[in-house]
Amino acid sequence: MAAPFTRVYRPLWRIITTTTLNKGVRNVSSTRQQWSAQNVKTAGVASPWALHGAVCLQRLPVVSQDRSPIEDEFMELMHQMELERSLLSDHELRLLEDAARMSRKQEEESDEEEEDYRDKDIFTAQDLEDIWEQKLKQYQPAQRSQGVDEKGVSSSERCLAESLILLVKKDVGSQKLWLLPQIQWQTGETLRQTAERALASLPGADLKATFLGNAPCGFYKYKYPKDIQKEGSVGAKVFFFKALLSGHKHLPLEKNSFAWVKKDELQDFLKPEYLKQVRRFIMAL
């Protein structure tokens, strides 16, 4: 039954404010209406937690990961097994025929073979293979690893094989902390809009992102230190929203205030409690 459940979970201050409205035993439907009515009435009473919306912006990998040793071995084995179980292709048949013809020509050295040559193509299969090799060499693909001198933590081009998260350095109280970009919630907007505003308000960044749904993926709550705690504000709750970076960003952002980090590098940047909550929803598969 839903009604007793909601009563158990209501925080103490809400129970105190709404005891005047409680009139004893009710049936289920009326308590539900009462609950929603209470919410509307008590909207004026602000919760002690300030709401913030934050965005977990991920740049997905651009390049495939390197194979681990066992994956390499297994790939080799699979190739061999497939080759053994397959039939000869047209190209391979042609190679065999050409080889046979060459060997016969060398052995016999007769002129009869020359007549056949006029009917067949000028290129042997081996020549075709060489032509294809040369064509492939003409194309220069971009480097996979971009070199060891990774362009620093602030570039989104680093570590192309892994997904990166955007971190921002922000003043919180007296300290400068590395955080996921967050901004305070304003009345009249949903938390997702807050997260979008947090992304848009980053100075000097023109990042286009696709937000994945309306629901937050994680939260973190912290209490303000006692000297800052005013009446009615105990701390803040930050709700994280996931977004994927769409569109390639080429401009590097300011070095000291932005960072693109992998999941294992997060511990060098974030505080332990914050990190514990954030790690849960960041998937680095």
């Binding site: 919410n39 709401l51 971009a142 996979r144 997702r192 309306n214 629901a215 994680g218 939260f219 998937m283």
Partner: protein, 199 residues
């Protein structure tokens, strides 16, 4: 009615005659058209009513015959479109294409068997870590939604409502090498030889 038809016919004929030949025939009465004219008037005048009966009947009969033919054609079940993947092409049944079966040493076959077992263990552990990560993320989301519900019902409802803009969602997956900046792909022509079947 017949007279009107006659008059229009005579007008047409006389106009034709006047433009084509130099002979000008004089008509004394509208009933007698010029001798050079075509014999369109006599059948028109002779049996006007009979045509009305026979022609509609004939047309109706023609239509019925066509409809019967169409029905017969439609009753026949349409020919099934062959699924090209299920038909083994004749090339594959060619005996000249069979490779010689390689014989492996005992060590080689042992190595293969052990590698396959190692691989299954590796894949299992990979799957377990994936499942754990996913469950962790789901748990984090569930707790976030619970906290949000405690905060405010409106925001919770907005969070739980479905997002219609996300689909269709497109993303280019990872490739082996990163994309080259300002790359112009060479233009190529190709002939599409896929077989299209119609029923």
């Amino acid at each position: 009615m017949a007279g009107i038809v006659c008059r229009t016919a005579s007008r047409i004929i006389s106009s034709q005659v006047s433009c084509s030949s130099s002979v000008v025939a004089v008509r004394h009465s509208h009933w007698f058209t010029s001798m050079l004219s075509l014999k369109t008037s006599s059948p028109l005048r002779a049996e006007p009513k009979k045509k009305k009966k026979v022609d509609p009947r004939r047309e109706i009969m023609m239509k019925e015959r066509l409809k019967k033919k169409l029905k017969r054609l439609e009753k026949v079940a349409p020919e099934l479109i062959p699924i090209e993947d299920f038909i083994t092409p004749a090339k594959c049944l060619d005996e000249t294409r069979i490779r010689d079966a390689p014989k492996h040493s005992f060590e080689e076959s042992e190595r293969r068997a052990l590698l396959l077992k190692e691989w299954s263990r590796y894949k299992y552990s990979q799957h377990q870590t994936e499942m754990d990560t996913i469950n962790e993320a789901l748990e984090a989301q569930r707790q976030a939604l619970d906290e949000l519900k405690l905060e405010s019902e409106e925001l919770y409802k907005a969070a739980v409502s479905p997002d219609t803009d996300i689909f269709p969602f497109q993303h280019e997956g990872p490739s082996y090498t990163p994309p080259v900046t300002n790359y112009e792909a060479p233009e190529g022509k190709y002939n599409d030889i896929t077989r299209v079947y119609t029923q």
